[in-house]
Symmetry: C2
Subunit: 201 residues, 2 copies
DNA sequence: CCACGCAACTTGACGCTGTCAAGATATGAC
DNA sequence: GTCATATCTTGACAGCGTCAAGTTGCGTGG
């Protein structure tokens, strides 16, 4: 009857990370709505209100999860960039590929960080990694910005397209899994766009 | 002490609609996560489990709300189309404008229907109106489809761009309301894209 | 006009949830 | 070895979705 020994977990500061792991697993199993402090606690073998000690709120845990999500997101883009040609167009394509790598590799996490739900704005690590994601995109777009227009135009053209493609792919494939077959290829769609932008000397 | 008279509501079949109204109001007030059967019931002045009679589930109510959302979405696109030039390019722009009208006019409802959460797939009215939205887009893209490529390529180019722009605008403006000033104009962004697609013959 | 039947609710209960207060325990400093 | 404090546990509370069972009122048949 010794279900779980009391205080089975060593107090080494690993609990917050373990709770985030549990949360991501929960997201995978049940989607964005299935996140629960008590279940994360159970998965991490701690009592139901242990999470409350490390995270003020459910929102606090959600922000920690989103921070990890953005971190993986940044990693995915950087990984593609490093193994790509330094040519501006190749770099931009690598960014887009990384974007889609993350979305298709961890669809629930992708949908979660872009779900529109509010995270803790005063959480510094979250702000840092989230703005780094945008900085990467901005840097890759920079060579394509015409001299007479604001960088935002190109940035949002690219960002909207890749984000829209990823977001629609994930939401619609979730709705209807057999849809995958007729889904157009990323490259085919983007080739049209790439015709309309050129490196600005 | 007659707080609310028992059975104050006439049984005229208007409760389902009233509950959807209440749900949309709740979405506006608290965002996608704030939807609750019991609060919808309270807003509609019925007992806590009256919604359960008309909607099997919370998911059932969510699907009814999403159905209304898609209906408004379709209306917004059609309204712009009707008051636009019949020229293919003007029609396509009208679709995009309608898309953004809906997203900015009812941001919470827009985020809700595209939140990636599962709705009842066996709900006929939902399926009808949701697929109608896609049909409208598809029709507007048709004149731009090159003879040698599949329609999906152009459709997803347009759809991804307008959806991504709308979705990013809504999520980021929610995060950071003062961001609105530096947000690029839709037309400026899309003008780049429109250079890359032309009416086919 | 009345009784009956069924649709549209209400009431109550259950286990789940987040959150807080208060108690227990382990770990590092002295 | 004892003590302080960070880290967790226990217990309680209200609110949630969902189901079962009871109640109400409207329409229909006589």
């Amino acid at each position: 009857m010794t279900d779980v020994p009391t205080h089975s977990r060593k107090r080494d500061g690993s609990l917050p990370n373990a709770l985030v792991d549990a949360g991501i697993e929960l997201l995978r199993e049940r989607g964005s709505g299935g996140l629960s402090l008590r279940e994360c606690a159970a998965k991490a073998n701690v009592s139901h209100s242990a999470p409350g000690y490390h995270f003020k709120n459910l929102k606090g845990l959600a922000t920690a999860i989103a921070t990890r999500g953005f971190s993986h997101f940044v990693d995915a883009m950087e990984k593609r960039c490093q193994s790509a040609d330094p040519d501006p167009r190749a770099q931009l394509e690598a960014i887009c590929q990384g974007y889609l790598d993350f979305a298709s590799g961890q669809p629930e996490l992708f949908l979660f960080i872009f779900s529109g739900q509010q995270f803790d704005k005063d959480n510094a690590p979250f702000e840092v990694v989230a703005s780094k994601a945008y900085a990467i995109l901005r840097e890759a777009c920079e060579p394509f910005v015409p001299k007479d227009s604001s960088p935002e135009e190109i940035e949002f053209l690219i960002w909207s397209l890749v984000h829209g493609f990823a977001h629609l792919s994930m939401t619609r494939k979730k709705d209807n899994p057999k849809l995958g077959q007729t889904w157009p290829d990323f490259d085919a769609v983007f080739s049209h766009l790439f015709k309309s932008i050129t490196v600005q000397e």
